[in-house]
Amino acid sequence: MLDGVQAAADAAIVVKDLRKRYDEVDAVKGISFVVRAGTTTALLGGNGAGKTTTLSMLLGVLTPTAGSIAILGCDMLRDRYRMLPRMNFTSPYVDLPRRLTVGENLRVFADLYGVREPKQRIAQLAGEFDLAGLLARPYGNLSAGQRTRVSLAKALLNRPEVLLLDEPTASLDPDIGDRMRTYLEHYQRESRCTMLLASHNMGEVERMCDDVIMLREGLVVNQGSPHDLIERYGRENMDEVFLDIARGGTDESELGAPTPEVAA
């Protein structure tokens, strides 16, 4: 465990005073939070709030300016290769090689993650994500929705214990989106996987997430369960809470919200 980080015994992700500064811009201004093991937590905020920057730092592809990150007790800034095989992620902003077929892409990543019996695992995921008919097609020829399904399949190849999802159902039609959420919920329940989800779909957040961490301008401004936040802001649903927070019209200190440090 990281020095100085007080976290509950069931913490899967512990972030302490995390900061990221690009030249003159403070993208993340010292955030702290804990994600409980076996739960789904949403990282919410408007554009530029620091969600993708935070996810990137958790994944190790962005070096923080300061702070610490521990995932399943592993210090990600010093020893991330010990943890990376047990994690995965998906993002609509990161592509897979377009001229490779779906099957080839999944095979390459199965080998990179060291998946035992990769052919069986790919066939299994292809069945679960309705990809069997797409395995021989080049990834670049797929629709945006099909690519999202392939990216999700790629993210589950190694049966991750920690899954970071950046807008996981973007570009999916309501039917497929719903099936994906059902799949992820089922996977999370059965595997006790910890999921951290950045999404702009508040219906998805209300449905899937046990906890929500709200970011604005690089700071954690509130956190709690979707139900608690709706109650705290006196709103009908998470869409309205999101608008309140993103537009900055509410003084969170007056809501009696737990500060991130207390929550951590």
Binding site: Y22, T52, T53, S56, L59, G60, V61, L62, T63, Y81, R82, L84, P85, M87, N88, F89, S91, Y93, V94, D95, L96, P97, R98, R99, L100, T101, E104, R107, V108, F109, D111, L112, Y113, G114, V115, R116, R121, Q124, E128, F129, D130, K154, L156, N158, R159, R179, T182, Y183, H186, Y187, E190, S191
Partner: protein
Amino acid sequence: MQPVLDSGACLHPQTGLAASARRVRALVRRHAYLLLKSWPRLVSMAYYPTVTMVLWAFLTIYLKPTTNFLQDAPGFFIGAVLLWDVLFRGQLGVSLTFIEEMYSRNLGNLFVSPLRLSEFIAGQLTMSVLRTLIGVGGACFFAWLLFRYSIFALGFPLIDFFCLLLAFGWSIGLAVSAMILRWGLGAEELAWAAIFLVAPVSGVYYPISVLPAWLQPVAWLLPSAHVFEGMRSVLLEGEFPWNHFWAAAGLDLVYLGIGVATFRLAINFARVHGKLLQMGE
């Protein structure tokens, strides 16, 4: 659409040589898929070395009756151009493998996987060897088919020259990849142009003594200059010049160290500035 969950370990061990070899193999597999499904790519890899070789072969035929050293070593220019292509293809193999990942916006996926930087580099170098063997191998085949010239007549020294030039190509390729990562795909032209900076001082077709006196010390700082000087020694005098061999090998180590260090710095720069998830066409 219900997940079928397996309990217990579903992954191979993640540490040790076997794990590293598996990840490097995965990276090579990714690029092999790409190469093998595109015959224009495969053909173009051998096309340029072959056309250049044919040009120098005809020049040899034209000059041979009036040029003494070509009568002694008729394969002089052809051997030189084939070895030059080992250097060029070796560098291109590293740079283009890296550019391919940037084009496909795949760096983010690779760098959040368990793939280590050293394994990523090893994958690039392995692809460089394969690309060089395909490209120069094709040209060697046509040299034998069209002009009855076999570069394998160089014998054992050929292996040394090949390895020394390939290693120098790797170091330039890694440095070029670092610059592309640093400045983006706008610097892509470097992949094709950078190597020609060392061509005039490598003495590919002429001895280093031809260069101005002030330029000769610069030339001797390049492994390629020692290799081509060595090639001429083997062809014209029938002797393997160990002094040039050791000089080239030592310099290769230095340049490879610089190439790897530069690439590491560029990756660290990309991690600090958030470029690994953003890079793309």
